[in-house]
Structures are given as structure tokens and as C-alpha cells.
Symmetry: C2
Subunit: 288 residues, 2 copies
Amino acid sequence: MINQLTIFGVGLIGGSLALALKKAGYCRRIVGCSRRESHLQQAVELGAIDSYTLDAGEAAEGADVVFLAVPLGAMKSILSDIDGHLSAEAIVTDAGSSKASVVEAAREVFGTIPSRFVPAHPIAGREKSGVTAAVADLYVDHKVILTPVENTSAAAINTVAAMWEATGAKIATLGVEQHDRVLAATSHLPHVLAYALVDTVSRTGYVDEIFQFAAGGFRDFSRIASSDPTMWRDICIENRAAILENLDHFQSELTKVRELIHQSDEAKLFDLFDHAKSIRDAKIANRD
Amino acid sequence: MINQLTIFGVGLIGGSLALALKKAGYCRRIVGCSRRESHLQQAVELGAIDSYTLDAGEAAEGADVVFLAVPLGAMKSILSDIDGHLSAEAIVTDAGSSKASVVEAAREVFGTIPSRFVPAHPIAGREKSGVTAAVADLYVDHKVILTPVENTSAAAINTVAAMWEATGAKIATLGVEQHDRVLAATSHLPHVLAYALVDTVSRTGYVDEIFQFAAGGFRDFSRIASSDPTMWRDICIENRAAILENLDHFQSELTKVRELIHQSDEAKLFDLFDHAKSIRDAKIANRD
């Protein structure tokens, strides 16, 4: 049970956490803070938050838990804004899609990584964004990855884990660097590919036919290209190293496949496709 | 109403057509032909076909409509096998995912493209293959693209269109080359990318974590990598030119995106992602 939760960025992620914790009766009071008053008013009307302020320092005061659900590019300035306004017992956590950059931002702002800062990443989302897209069950059966560092307090980890469990989420733990490499492969690279694919298709001169005859493959494949461009711009920059590493591996692979197609190498094309199918079937098919 | 329909390749595509036409009461008799007797026995047990033969010439005799639902690489040899066994009124159609190569195969076998050959492509599928995956409603509300050539008979087109409409499918018409370019972009390239992505990921050394934390993006994106490798090997070879053209455009685009990420070019990354999102939202979002 949390007395006061303060949420920075009451959009899809922050709003859905608020609605889930309201539904679970897990918070006495939820305070919202963002740059846009109209969004905060909407969040009040939707019953996600109890009150709001546009002043970050004021929002942090009295909070037992502070949750940062803003684009990665805004994390550092908010940490700066709340520095000096947190109570000694306040726990800070976030929802950033890349962890090294947020941990580094905390180190820069506080001089050291606070033991009460618990870096975290809920693996959930929708293509729609904003508090109007928030739903109380967004996190049910979804994973939330905590990436504590060496000096993160066990009590703080437990508080954040319990908060997420109250939403129906399942807790997992990874190292900061491991998280960033795994997410670069499972989420960041696919988003970059989807954006690039739709962009490529849009230049073909027969874009209407392409969308008209888009079968399941293209539809599934391109769905994530409808995601929030600001969020994905920030992720590409903040997790740049891991994304570039994965992108380079992917481009080498694609060049290899291109050569096999160019040479009509039936045997090697079959082997490559068959290998990919067997990996995916073994690892994921049962969970589709 | 068709008196005798002969289906070559009674797997997912051929079997689903058979089940749909049975359900609609549209065929008096459905004959199956394939290389594997066990598959044909299964098709009889599942009620998809009435009888079968392993002899292609015999299968073609007496057929009003012959439907080729075999991998692209097998089209030409079946056309050769049935040459001389077709009645003067028999209509031949197919389900090949690329059309130029099938049309060319028909030209080579028959000396000219027969007016009673209607090249076609039902835009439907599942990751599972084989007649055990066949379902009567596979084609309901799906598009079937007909790609008739200049001398294709209008009566033959009407017969094939009516057969597909009996399954609940919707008919569309494209030129052969236009079909191959559009499908290269909407279906063939995404399949190549999905196979390449899973193959890349399988080499990372943390493949278990990747599948464990695979969010919706990766799952949607990689689903088509569970497709039949034989079918996709054949498509890559038979529609090679259009696939390579699309692949080259995609790789140029990806190289451009890579450079923007490498340079942390916030403005251009945002513009590119925002452009892709707006295109997809405008063209497809309402149909998700």
C-alpha cells in the first residue's frame, strides 16, 4: 500500500499504472505532473489521478513513490527538478525502455546512483498513446523488468516490485547492460525495421496497392510503425550502442540472404529459413 | 457449380479450398493429387476430397477445373504432366504467390499461354501447413487476386472468380508484373526480414532471454518466420527480381536510418518515424 504516488508523464504508461493501482485500491493518493495541463485535467476526469501540479518540485514533495513515465530524453531534467524535494524515504522508479541512460542520468544529477532509485521497464504498450489510451489491465500478465544496480536497496526493490504486482504484472530482473542488449534485439530493432519498411514502401509509387493487398504479414509487421515517434526517437538515441550493434548484425545477415536470393541458392536459402523457423517454433510458438 | 475439381497439392491452401467448396455445395466431385499418398489419405479422411490418384495425367482427366496449389518450384512439372490430359473445356488456375514465373511456365509447356489458364493468388495463409491445418473459412473476406493476361478467356475468368466467391473470398484483379511488385513489398520482403531477424537473434548468445522478454513487437514481427521454408525458398527464387529490388530499397533506407542513429540526429529520426506512422495510420490503422 502506497500513501502518495507521484507520476511524471500521465500518458499511456503512467495513466495505466494509475488506473490499475486505483482499481486495486493500492494508493491513497495519486498526484500527476506533466508539462501539459490539459492532459492532467483529462487524467483527473478519467479517474487516473486525484490531483496535479505543473511544478515538478511540488509534485515530488510528500511522495512515497515517484514514477517517471516520460520519454527518455526528459528523464534527466525531471530528476534535476525533483532533486532536493524528495523526502528521505521516497523511492524513485521509472518506465524507460533503455536503462543505462537513465541510470547515468541519475548518477549525474545526484552525484551517485541513489540506493532508493529502482530502474525498471514494464514490457507493455499499445500503438495508441496518451492518457485516453490508458487501461487498468495493461500490465496484467505482462513482465516488468527491474534492473537494480549494486547499491540499490532491497527494501526499495521490494516496494517497486509489490506496486507492479498489484497491477497484475510479473516481475523479472536483469542487469542494466543485459536489459539494453536484449531489448535492442526484441523491441528496438524491430521498431526501427518497421519504420524503415513503411518508409520504403511509401516511396514505391504503388503505396495504395500495397496497403490494399497487405496480408497478415505486412499488417503484423508494420503495426509497430504506428508507435509514438518521440518515444522511439529517444530510444534510438539513448540505447544507441546496443541498437547499432544489433542493426549491424541484422544488415550483415540481410546482405547474406540477398546474395543467396541473387544466386538462387536453393539449398542455403532453405537451410536459413528452416533454421529460423525451428528456432522460433521451439522458443515461442506455444506462446502465440 | 463445378462438376469435377482436381486439386494438385492438397495442403493448407488446396485443402481449405476443398473444404470451403464442399461446405458451399459447389462441387460434385473433388479429386486430389500429390506425391505423398499419406497426405491424400488424410485429405479423404478429413472430408476435403472424394478420391485421389498419384498419377497427374489421370487426375486431370475429366476435370472441369484444375487447381494447382503446389510450391512454385513444382508448377512447371505438373503443367507438363497434365498437358494432353485436359479436356478442351478444362480451366486451369493456381495459387502461386508470384505470377510471372507461373505464366512463363505455362507458356513454356503449352507453347503459348492457354486462354483457359487463369493465374491467381489467394491472399490467405497460416503459419501452419498441411491439410490438417486446412479450414473451410480460410478465405472468408480475404482477397483473391486474379492476374489474367491478354488472351485469357472472359468465361474462364468468370468461372474461377465464381469458384472463389463461393468460398467467401473477394476478387481483385492486377497485372502480372504489378502483382509481383506489390506482393514483393507486402509479403515477400517482410518474410525475408522476419527470417533474417530470427536468424540474427539466434546468433546473439542470449537467445533465451530474447524470446523470454519478447514483447508484442517481436512476436508479431517474427510470427511469419514460422512459415513453410520450402514455399518461401521457392518464392524468393521465382520472384527474385522484384524481391531484390525491394530488398535493395529497404537496405538503402536502413543504412540511412543507421546513420541518423549513429549521429543522434534527433530531428531527422523524428521526421522519418513520424512520416512512417502517418502513412501507416492513414492507410491501414482503421482496418487493424
